[in-house]
C-alpha cells in the first residue's frame, strides 16, 4: 500500500497531539466528587505511580459501593502521566489546578516532582494528599517540627522518620558506614538525615557519604570510595532499578559488605534486576501490611487488591504475604483517598476550607499503614513504630522479604 509522506506526517502529527493530551481519565459524570493528580504512570519508576493509582481506585470502589460521600459518587476527574519528571509534573499539575471541578488533589510520586509542584498546590489551597514523596519540606517548608503547609498532608514515610529508624540500626551495629544516595530531593535529604542521625547516636562513627545520578549504569567510583574507607556496611537511599545496578556492581567488585536500603529501594525492580543476588539485603519498610497476622482492615484491603489485580509484580513473590513495598506503592494512595473522603463526610461539604478543618481534626482513623491523626501543626502520620526491618532471604528456593524486627 502506498502511503504518501504528507499523509504519514499528518498521521504522526495527530498521534503526537493525542499523546500530548496525556491520560484524560474517565469521562465526567454529573454530580460526582472529582479528584485529580499527576503521577509516574509510565517510565522506569512507574511502580509508584501505577501503585498509588490502584490504591486510589480501590478506595473509590469501596466508598462508592457503600453509597459514596455526601450522596455523591467519587471519580478520578483528571489523571496525567509525568514519568517522575519534575518539568512534566509542573505542566500537568497546572492543567489539573485549572480544572475547577476537581475538589481533591494528590501529589505526584517522588520528592523531585512533588517539590516542583507543591508551592502551586499550596497557593491554590485545595486539600491535597501526598502519597509517596518523602522529603520533609514537602509538608514542612521550614523543616521537620515547623509549621506545615495548611492544605498538604502526607501518607508516606517522611525521610526524617525513616532516617531515625535506619540510623538507630546502623549506629548500633557498625562504627564505619558507607552512605550512598541518589542525587534527587528524596536521596539528598534522606542521606543527610541518616548521616546526622548516625552522628547524633555515635559521634565517633566514620560515615563515607557519596551520591549517584538516577539511572547511572556504573557505580564503581562510589563503591571504591566506600571500600577504601573500610566501611563495615553500606546504606543506600534510592529506588529499586538503581539499587539493582549497585548490588551487581558490589558483587562484581567482590564487595561483601552488608547492604541496607531505604524503603524506596525495596521495590519490585530491585528483585527483577538482580534476582537471587538480592539475598541478604536489609532495610526498612512499612510494618503493618506484611505482618504475619494482619489486622482486619489490612486483610480487607489485600483481598480487594488480589481480586482486582491478582498477586502481580507489586504484590511480590509470596501469594500469601505481600511485599511490604505495597505499603508505599499502593496502600498510601488507598489510605489518602479514604482519609480525604472521611474528611468530606465529617465536613459535610467538599469546600476546601471546611475539608482542611476536618482533616486537621482527623483522629483515630484506622488505615492500612497506620492509624491516622492530623492536627493543624502535624500533617504526617507514619512514625518510627510503623516501620519494620526486612531482609531478603531464600526460603524453599524462593526469594522472600522477611520481617526481622517484630
Amino acid at each position: 500500500m502506498f502511503v504518501s509522506r504528507r499523509r504519514l506526517l499528518t498521521a504522526t502529527s495527530a498521534l503526537a497531539a493525542v499523546a500530548s493530551m496525556g491520560f484524560p481519565g474517565r469521562a465526567r459524570a454529573a454530580g460526582t466528587i472529582k479528584i485529580g493528580f499527576t503521577t509516574a504512570l509510565t517510565g522506569p519508576f512507574n511502580e509508584f505511580g501505577e501503585g498509588y493509582k490502584r490504591g486510589i481506585e480501590l478506595a473509590i470502589e469501596k466508598i462508592n459501593k457503600a453509597g459514596g460521600v455526601l450522596g455523591k459518587q467519587i471519580e478520578i476527574g483528571m489523571m496525567l502521566d509525568d514519568q517522575l519528571i519534575p518539568d512534566r509534573a509542573v505542566q500537568n499539575m497546572r492543567r489539573v489546578l485549572d480544572n475547577k471541578d476537581i475538589v481533591g488533589l494528590f501529589c505526584p510520586s517522588g520528592s523531585g516532582p512533588t517539590l516542583a509542584v507543591v508551592d502551586m498546590i499550596a497557593a491554590d489551597g485545595r486539600p491535597t494528599m501526598n502519597p509517596q514523596a518523602q522529603t520533609p519540606t514537602v509538608i514542612y517548608p521550614g523543616g521537620p517540627g515547623t509549621k506545615p503547609r495548611p492544605n498538604v498532608y502526607t501518607f508516606s514515610i517522611q525521610n526524617d522518620i525513616e532516617a531515625n529508624f535506619l540510623a538507630s540500626i546502623l549506629a548500633k551495629k557498625f562504627n564505619r558506614i558507607g552512605l550512598l544516595n541518589e542525587s534527587t530531593g528524596y536521596g539528598k535529604t534522606g542521606g543527610e538525615l541518616i548521616k546526622a542521625g548516625i552522628m547524633r547516636l555515635k559521634s565517633d562513627a566514620v560515615v563515607t557519604h557519596e551520591s549517584y545520578n538516577q539511572k547511572d549504569q556504573d557505580m564503581t567510583a562510589q563503591l571504591v570510595r566506600v571500600q577504601r574507607a573500610r566501611s563495615e556496611a553500606l546504606m543506600v537511599v534510592g529506588l529499586g532499578a538503581d539499587m539493582a545496578v549497585i548490588r551487581k556492581n558490589m558483587l562484581r567488585m567482590n564487595m561483601t559488605t552488608p547492604l541496607y536500603v531505604s524503603a524506596g529501594g525495596f521495590s519490585p525492580p530491585y528483585v527483577e534486576g538482580v534476582g537471587d543476588l538480592a539475598a541478604g539485603t536489609m532495610g526498612s519498610q512499612f510494618r503493618k501490611i506484611a505482618a504475619k497476622a494482619p489486622a482486619p482492615e489490612v486483610v480487607e484491603f489485600l483481598n480487594a487488591y488480589k481480586a482486582k489485580h491478582g498477586t502481580d509484580r507489586l504484590w511480590g513473590s509470596d501469594p500469601q504475604i505481600p511485599s511490604p513495598s505495597m505499603g508505599g506503592t499502593v496502600a498510601t494512595g488507598f489510605d489518602g483517598m479514604m482519609v480525604m473522603a472521611d474528611a468530606w463526610r465529617r465536613a459535610g461539604s467538599t469546600d476546601p476550607a471546611a475539608t482542611i478543618k476536618a482533616l486537621d481534626a482527623t483522629k483515630g482513623f484506622v488505615g492500612v499503614n497506620c492509624t491516622y491523626e492530623f492536627t493543624p501543626d502535624k500533617h504526617h502520620a507514619i512514625e518510627v513504630g510503623d516501620l519494620a526491618t526486612y531482609e531478603y532471604a531464600k526460603i524453599d528456593g524462593r526469594l522472600m522479604l522477611v520481617q526481622t524486627s517484630l
Partner: protein, 294 residues
Amino acid sequence: MEDFLTLLLAGISVGAVYGLIAIGLNLTFWTTKTMNFGQGSVMMLCAMLTATMIARGWPQVLSILAALAVIVVLMVFTETYTVRPALKIEGSMGWAVSTLGVGIVLQGFASLWFGSQALAFPDIIFSAIDDVVVFGVHVSLQYIAVLILALALVVVFELLVRGTVWGRAMRAVSMDADLASVIGIPVRVVVLGSYIASGVLAGVSGILVAQIGGTVDPAFGFELVIFGFVAAVLGGMGSTTGALAGGIVAGVLQQMVGGYISSAAQHGMAFALLILILVVRPQGLFGQREIVKV
C-alpha cells in the same frame, strides 16, 4: 593499588563502549555529515529486544542476532525516510530533528510493547559474581568480556574500512560524494551501509552496557550517546582510533575523578573535557585540521 586497578579497568571497559558509540556516530558523519541523534534509542531497542527474547526462552546468540536484524531494518527506514529527504535541502539541519524524532517514537513504542519499567538484562556468558584474581585484585570477567569484545569490534571495523572495497568506497564518499558517484561508486548504497553499520555498533553497545548495569528501560541510552559524542569530539570527528581513545580517556577520567576526587564531579568531568578540547584543540586528539580553500 587495588582501588586504582578496579577504577582503571571499569573506566577502560565503559570507555571502550563510549568508543563504540562514537565510531557509530563517526560513520554517518563520514558519509553524509549527519549523525543519528536517535542512537540512544537504537541501543535501548536492541538491548530490550535481546532481553525479551532471552526471557522467552530463545537461545542467547539467536536473540542477539534477531535483535540486530531488527536494528538493520530500522536503520534502513531511518536513512530512507528521515535523513535522505532532509538532505535534499541544501544546508538543512532537518536530519537532526528527524533522527531525534525517530528516537522519541522508538521510546514510545518500547514503553508500549515492553512496558515502561526496567527489564532485567540476563547475564551473557559471565555473571556479576564471576571474577579472576590478578595480582591479588578481583577483576570482573564481565568487564574483561566487554573490553575484549569492544576492542575486537574496533579492530574488525578498522580492517574492513582499510582493507575492503566497500571500506575504500566509504572513504571515497566521505571525501567527495559527487566525485565518488561520477567514478561509479554506488553512493546511496554506501550511505545506507554506513547507517546500518552505525546502528549495529549502537545495538552491540546497548547489549554490552545493559550487561554491566543489569537492567534496561525505554529511557536507556540517551546519556550514553552524549558520552559517545564527547568521545567522538575528543578523539577527533572521523577518526576511528580517536573515537576509541577518546572513549577510553573519558571513561577512565570519569572513574578516577569519581574514585579519588568526588563522585559528584564524575559526570561533569566528560563535559569539562569536551569544553577543554573544543577550546584547546577543536579538531580533537587524532583529528586533522580542516583547511578550506576560498
